[in-house]
């Protein structure tokens, strides 16, 4: 998390810095969602300060292990520009039914050559401000999302290009929610990549 500060000395971010920011954001938003939606008990979260907000991070060893395993892969794929979408699916454990789906669509900034930009043009403060807004909004989503009153767990699905793959990763059917209502949250841009956040939930 603090590795991103190495880039903060410069005013603008590079691709690597953008990737770090996005992955950090994803980690915090994942933990925040798990806390807010009550997937895991509140006692298993500890509040930490980041982005100027109080973010709840899980101290569950399983979750920590999982995130430690997947984040490096995500960083690598993001750097290569292979990730199109990160989907966090909250499912009922017993009925295996997907109840909620948080999508983070990653769209790289268009360049004339078609390759990924290496140097950004946006000051770090602005990016962080935008990220803060998105995280606040995620917290505020609790007001309208339906209650998850069954035992839930989560799974992360990565929509990548066909040439992505690594050990420990397998193909899976993309989740689809019946009678879904989709809400678009704020987006933020690092001037190299744009991240759009969506939440789909089952409308009763």
């Amino acid at each position: 998390m603090a590795t991103g500060s190495a880039q903060e000395t410069q005013n603008f971010v590079t691709l690597k810095g953008s990737v770090e920011l996005i992955v950090d954001f994803f980690n915090y938003s994942l933990n925040s969602i798990l806390y807010q939606r009550g997937v895991f008990p509140e006692e298993s979260f500890i509040p930490t300060q980041h982005y100027g907000l109080t973010m709840y991070m899980s101290k569950n060893p399983d979750i920590k292990k999982y995130t430690d395993e997947i984040l490096p892969h995500l960083k690598q794929w993001l750097t290569e520009g292979k990730i199109k979408k990160l989907v966090l699916a909250l499912c009922d454990v017993n009925s295996k039914e997907p109840l909620e789906c948080w999508e983070f669509r990653i769209i790289p900034e268009e360049t004339p050559t078609g390759e990924i930009k290496q140097q950004g043009t946006k000051p770090l403060k602005d990016i962080q401000q935008e990220i803060r807004n998105v995280l606040r909004q995620i917290t505020a989503c609790v007001t309208f999302l339906p209650l998850l009153d069954c035992v839930c767990s989560f799974d992360l699905q990565v929509h990548t290009t066909n040439d992505a793959g690594a050990e420990g990763w397998g193909d899976v059917q993309p989740i689809s929610i019946q009678n879904a209502q989709e809400v678009q949250l704020r987006s933020f841009s690092t001037s190299i990549q744009n991240v759009h956040t969506f939440v789909s939930y089952k409308s009763v």
Binding site: D62, I63, Y66, E69, I70, K84, K85, A89, C91, V93, N94, K96, V151, S153, F154, D155, L156, Q157, V158, H159, T160, T161, N162, A164, G165, G168, W169, G170, D171, V172, Q173, P174, S176
Partner: protein, 706 residues
């Protein structure tokens, strides 16, 4: 307002003007040394209009000596203000003084005087103009005041009018509202009245019904009363008759009593006459009493009867009236029926007459047609039968025929002329031909003609073949093209279908959210799957525990109190769990089913085999634990059977009663030849020969009588 806004610049302009003029004169005074008329500057004046002031400024400028302007241009200042104009003046004056000082002072003075006078004139003119402008200004101001005053008056008037109109509008609104209310009231009243009218109508109808009902009831009452009266009359008459009868009876009894008395008197007069007399007197008294009673009865009866009889005429009158009314009613009823019948009859007749009337115009038309036809025919007939007309007709036909003949003759003449013409042409040509050349020319020409004709025919042939070939080629190309077209259309249809399916697939894929070039990955060791796995494991573990506990409980209930865990373990090892039981049961069922099937198949095979053997070899073979009993198909009785048995390695024939009858065969085939098949086949032949009426194909080996 505008004037006030103008006043400020007017003031400014006037002060500027004043200052300029003052300075101008000061300069002049300084230079010329003669006092000028400055009185006009001290006068209080009203502010001049900006236009006037600007105009005056402009005039000032224009009236300033032109040299000043020239000098101003010289000096480089082109400003419009009076100040700048004054400075050049000074310069001019200075230059003038310096230049002409030495040489001609007198001229200068004269010039100065001239200039002064001119300037004075100018000033006077300006004064006049100022005064004029001030006058105008005053006029304008007064006019302005007046206008303002008028405006204010008009405003007030307008306001008053507006108020008036507003009041009027309010009044009208109020009136409108009142009218609306009235309208509503009236409508409501209208509705109420309508309802009342309807109620009244209903009541009237009801009353009508009730009146008619009452009428019917009263009529019925009358009839009943009539009947009642008649009955009463009859009763009274009966009573009267009875009473009369009774009276007559009493009279008769009275007379009889009298007679008896008289008799008794005559018979018993001398003796016990007193007694008898007393008795007679008693009886006489009784008789008298009876007579009195009778008389009283009669009188009362007669009185009542009289009263009743007095009523009779009235009743008779009423009866007559009622009878008359009844008759009237009956007649009216009859009349009604009659009238109805008449009406129906009349309606029918009216309809018939209408139909007839409708048919009249058609008939008239026909009549007219007929009349015209008739006239024609008459005319024709007249013409025919008239001698003159006949001759006229003849002449007409003749004339027609003659015309035709003439036309034909003309045609004929024309045709003849043409023929002659062509003949002459022909002769001419022939003449020319003979003249031009001899047979050679003719021949060349004929040759040319022949050549041309040949060419013509050739071309015709070519054209026809070409056309046919063209047509054939065309047909072929057409056929090819149509085939190609069909192929292409088929391909098109197929491709379009493929496109459709692909589009559908694409839509499906898109709807699923996955494009063709995307891969969806997830970490295999993800929490969701882990949790699921754990829950499943937990569930299975719990189930196992549950089973073991159940078994434990069962054993405990059964009485085993020691080594329960071991026994539970054994139980599970044995696999007597219900699941195992179910599995075993299922296996059992399946195996039983298999067995059954196998049995069926075996039985079927066996029976078919035995049947085949019987039909092929002629022996019904029954096997019983290694013992074979054979019955021939040609055997004479069912009990005839041969028996064989396996003894050691070989098959031995057993003794049966039937065997004894076949000793010779047995001797030959079994004992000597030691062959059972030969024996059996010989036996078959023997039996067959016995059975068949005709002589068998194979003569029997043994001619033994059976």
């Amino acid at each position: 307002m505008e004037n006030s806004s103008k006043n400020v610049p007017d003031d400014l302009d006037s002060t500027v003007l004043r200052h300029q003029v003052q300075r101008y004169f000061n300069e002049l005074n300084q230079e010329s040394g003669s006092p000028l008329n400055m009185e006009f500057l001290s006068m209080k004046r009203k502010p001049a209009s900006s236009a006037v002031s600007s105009a005056s400024l402009r005039t000032l400028d224009s009236f300033l000596p032109k040299k000043i302007r020239f000098d101003s241009s010289m000096t480089g200042e082109n400003s419009f203000t009076g100040e700048s104009s004054i400075f050049p003046k000074r310069n001019v004056a200075e230059s003038y003084s310096q230049s002409l000082n030495k040489s001609a002072k007198v001229d200068v003075a004269a010039q100065y005087e001239q200039k002064l006078s001119e300037k004075q004139a100018n000033i006077l003119e300006l004064q006049q103009k100022i005064i004029q402008t001030e006058m105008k200004l005053n006029n304008v101001v007064t006019a302005k005041d007046q206008l303002e005053h008028d405006m204010s008056n008009l405003k007030e008037k307008c306001k008053i009018k507006i108020k008036h109109y507003e009041d009027k509008i309010e009044d009208l609104n109020v009136e409108i509202k009142q009218l609306h209310l009235r309208n509503e009231h009236m409508s409501k009243e209208n509705l109420l009245k309508k309802e009342a009218v309807e109620h009244l109508k209903l009541a009237f109808a009801e009353e009508k019904l009730s009146c008619s009902q009452e009428l019917a009831e009263s009529e019925q009452k009358i009839i009943n009363l009539q009947l009642g009266y008649e009955e009463k009359i009859k009763e009274l008459e009966n009573n009267l008759e009875n009473a009369l009868l009774k009276a007559s009876k009493y009279q008769m009894e009275a007379e009889e009593a009298k007679h008896q008395l008289k008799l008794k008197e005559t018979v018993l007069s001398p003796s016990s006459s007193n007694h008898l007399q007393v008795v007679i007197e008693q009886q006489r008294q009784v008789i008298l009493e009876m007579e009195n009673a009778l008389f009283a009865q009669r009188t009362t009866f007669s009185q009542s009867q009289e009263a009743k009889l007095a009523r009779i005429p009235q009743l008779e009158k009423e009866l007559l009236q009622l009878q008359e009314t009844n008759q009237l009613y009956r007649e009216t009823a009859a009349n009604e029926l009659l009238l109805k019948e008449k009406i129906s009859a009349l309606q029918e007749s009216v309809q018939r007459y209408k139909e007839q009337c409708q048919a009249i115009p058609d008939l008239q038309g026909e009549m007219k047609k007929m009349a015209s036809h008739l006239r024609d025919w008459e005319s024709m007939a007249n013409r025919l039968f008239d001698a003159d007309s006949l001759s006229q007709v003849q002449t007409q036909t003749k004339s027609d025929l003659e015309d035709r003949v003439r036309k034909l003759e003309r045609k004929l003449g024309v045709v003849q002329k043409d023929r002659d013409h062509y003949r002459t042409i022909n002769e001419m040509y022939e003449g020319e031909m003979t003249r031009i050349g001899g047979p050679t020319a003719v021949s060349t020409e004929a040759k040319q003609i022949a050549n041309l004709e040949r060419l013509l025919e050739e071309y015709r042939g070519i054209v026809s073949t070409g056309s046919t070939s063209m047509t054939s080629a065309n047909n072929e190309t057409v056929v090819k093209l149509t085939q190609e077209k069909e192929q292409l259309t088929k391909e098109l249809a197929e491709l379009s279908q493929v496109i459709k399916t692909l589009k559908i697939q694409l839509e499906l894929a898109e709807s699923k959210g996955v494009a063709a070039d995307t891969r969806v990955l997830h970490f295999t060791n993800n929490p969701l799957d882990n949790v699921r796995r754990k829950t499943l494991e937990q569930i299975s573990k719990l189930e196992k525990e549950n089973e073991s506990l159940r078994e434990r409980v069962r054993l405990m209930e059964a009485g085993h109190s020691q080594n329960l865990t071991l026994m539970v373990g054994d139980h599970f090892e044995q696999g007597c769990t219900p699941e195992r039981l179910k599995e075993l049961e299922e296996k059992l069922k399946s195996s039983e089913m298999m067995n059954q099937r196998v049995e069926e198949v075996f039985r079927k095979y066996c029976s078919e085999f035995r049947r085949g053997v019987f039909e092929l070899f002629g022996y019904q073979v029954d096997s019983d634990d290694g013992k074979f009993t054979l019955r021939s198909v040609f055997s004479e009785s069912n009990t005839d059977s041969l028996s064989f048995k396996y003894v050691g390695d070989g098959l031995m024939v057993m003794d049966t009663p039937y065997l004894h009858t076949l000793d010779d065969l047995v001797q030959l085939h079994i004992n000597n030849q030691k062959s059972i098949p030969v024996f059996l086949s010989a036996l078959t032949i023997e039996l067959y020969s016995r059975q068949s009426i005709n002589s068998s194909a194979y003569p029997s080996v043994m001619d033994t009588p059976s």
